[in-house]
């Protein structure tokens, strides 16, 4: 029989597997884009402009999700755009996590003046409006993938620092940390063996959320044309172009939006699912 607990567990598992499935699909599509993309994502052809997706009247084979106003294949552009999204998610997400979590651990465990400095820095940092801040940064750094990643790291490390600091403080007050210190553990080694493993589930959840956020930020920046060059397909860029022709060709706007939505949702569900599955305290 299904009691409430196993039902919860089962839906949690389903959530995890659905998000893994979508992300794997995306990764495979992005990595093997040159092989699986039906068309060249940059090839313009005004004879095939604004073709509708495959189930509608007037669709052409080979253009499954239709084409935009310049005749470029939407599906192929989504696959190539996925590359940019995933690279940003991976690099910006993990770098943000490493930098933010390290500072948070230091502040939360060592306390004292180090904590003072880091915490005040976080407070000041978080007072800046993030979108404005990122646009300003890109304006200074110049456009390009590297700048986008750097901007995300510079803005979002505070998210990790703050949460990890609080968590490290809570863990640091536990008796097992005291026991480890009585047993001659140095402070640095205590952080690595006693604190970090217990903060790791939280870092994992934050990391997946951050990857979702990174995808959105990249989309925002490419929407306002501050990401990589306009020729290369990005989801944000496609959304911006699709917006203009929404009355003639809604699919140019809707499909990249769906890809963006599913990806961000999958990242956040992946984190929650992993936490449910691997956090020893929750089991």
């Amino acid at each position: 029989m299904l009691d409430g607990r196993s039902l919860v567990k089962r839906t949690a598992g389903l959530r995890l597997w659905l998000s893994v499935a979508w992300l794997s699909l995306l990764v495979i599509g992005a990595v093997f884009a040159p092989l699986v993309a039906p068309q060249d994502p940059l090839m313009q052809d005004l004879f095939t402009a604004r073709l509708p997706p495959f189930w509608m009247h007037g669709a052409e084979p080979g253009y499954w999700l239709g084409t935009d106003s310049l005749g470029r294949d939407v599906l192929s552009r989504i696959l190539y755009g996925g590359r940019v999204a995933l690279i940003v998610a991976l690099l910006a997400g993990s770098a943000t996590a490493i930098i933010g979590a390290t500072l948070g651990l230091i502040a939360g465990f060592y306390r004292g003046w180090v904590d003072m400095v880091i915490s005040r820095l976080v407070d000041i940092w978080m007072a800046f409006p993030p979108v404005l801040f990122s646009i300003l940064l890109i304006a200074v750094l110049g456009t390009g993938l590297g700048s986008v990643i750097l901007a995300i790291i510079v803005i979002d490390w505070t998210r990790f620092a703050r949460v990890v600091r609080a968590e490290a403080m809570a863990q640091g007050a536990m008796d097992y940390v005291a026991s480890a210190q009585v047993a001659g553990r140095g402070r640095f080694s205590t952080v690595l063996t006693e604190i970090l493993p217990n903060v790791l589930p939280t870092i994992t959840v934050l990391l997946t959320l951050e990857m979702g956020i990174a995808v959105i930020v990249e989309a925002i920046l490419s929407f306002v044309n501050l990401s990589i060059s306009t020729d290369d397909p990005t989801w944000g860029g496609m959304i911006a172009e699709g917006r203009v022709s929404i009355h003639q060709a809604w699919w140019v706007l809707v499909f990249p939006l769906i890809a963006l939505f599913l990806t961000v949702l999958s990242f956040s569900q992946l984190g929650e699912g992993l936490k449910d599955r691997f956090d020893p305290v929750l089991q």
């Binding site: 306390r111 004292g112 536990m174 008796d175 097992y176 005291a178 026991s179 480890a180 210190q181 009585v182 047993a183 001659g184 553990r185 140095g186 063996t193 006693e194 493993p197 217990n198 790791l200 020893p280 305290v281 089991q283």
Partner: protein
């Protein structure tokens, strides 16, 4: 010759002149069981933490000495102090639920100290871990060593913590209210176990508790604290026959007895509290520390 010798130890709330421990002096002989008794906030745990070098950040030692085996801990360089304490002393913590790291298996939590401090190799430390778990009557040590804390019961975890404290054969163990977090039936077994292990290993024990009944069972001497001040220090037999200080007498009268479980319990009278508080204030007046 006492193994642990505390002299005039004063601890303040960091950044203030408010004292949490007031010129505490205390001796624990090798193989002796010393009870530290007092109400909540009397500073009994604070003494144990000061000895083990795990005072919270908010507390600061301002004067006094803590000598372990003739070496003054407070004047030592922190790294050497940590190594010395790790070799000579151990802690049995209060709450078995938070005293084991939830994300590590039991095995390294016992063997780490043996490897780090005593320099044993893993195989030898493993054998020792199994042996010591046997000693605390854990039937399947191999299985327990491979478990995570959440897979074990509270009583089992407290046994593990006791085993872990004795594993490296320390000469002093601080037991910080080791039975408070357990339910009554388990409490008795755990107390018996600590007593048994202490007797077998001949370890000096600093037993922090608010329960005079527990003191009567396992301690040879006791120190009564009030407001961070040592009110009375006595041999346990003598104490239960005739406590000297008025506060100790009142504390004893407030403790239920096996011999007469229906007797009325007298709360500590306000006059006695007022008197002992005066004593605390007098101690602060004569305290000259800048």
């Amino acid at each position: 010759m006492s193994f642990l010798k505390i002299r005039n130890l004063s601890v303040v709330l960091r950044g203030t002149r408010h004292r949490l421990l007031r010129d505490v002096s205390l001796d624990v002989a090798a193989t002796e069981v010393m009870g530290l008794v007092g109400e909540s906030g009397a500073g009994k745990s604070m003494i144990g933490k000061a000895v083990l070098g795990i005072l919270p950040r908010s507390a600061q030692v301002v004067s006094g000495t803590i000598e372990m085996d003739g070496v003054d801990l407070l004047s030592m360089d922190p790294r050497r102090r940590r190594a010395l304490i790790g070799r000579q002393a151990a802690l049995i913590p209060q709450d078995p639920l938070t005293a084991l790291n939830p994300s590590r298996r039991i095995r390294p939590q016992i063997t780490d100290r043996l490897v780090d401090i005593l320099g044993w190799d893993r195989a030898r430390a493993n054998t020792r871990a199994e042996e010591i778990l046997h000693e605390v009557h854990i039937a399947a040590p191999e299985r327990v060593l491979g478990s995570y804390p959440h897979e074990l019961s509270g009583g089992m975890r407290q046994r593990i913590l006791i085993a872990s404290a004795f594993a490296a054969e320390p000469r002093l163990i601080v037991a910080d209210e080791p039975t408070t977090a357990l339910d009554v039936t388990v409490q008795k077994q755990i107390l018996k176990l600590i007593h048994e292990m202490q007797a077998q290993h001949g370890t000096a024990l600093l037993f922090v508790t608010h329960d005079l009944g527990v003191v009567a069972k396992i301690c040879q001497r006791l120190t009564v604290l009030y407001g961070g001040l040592v009110v009375e220090e006595a041999d346990v037999r003598a104490f239960f026959r005739a406590p000297v200080h008025a506060y100790s007498r009142a504390l004893l009268a407030a403790t239920p007895r096996h011999s007469d479980p229906d007797a009325d319990l007298t709360p500590v009278p306000e006059a006695v509290i007022a008197a002992v508080q005066d004593q605390v204030l007098a101690a602060d007046r004569s305290w000259t520390h800048a």
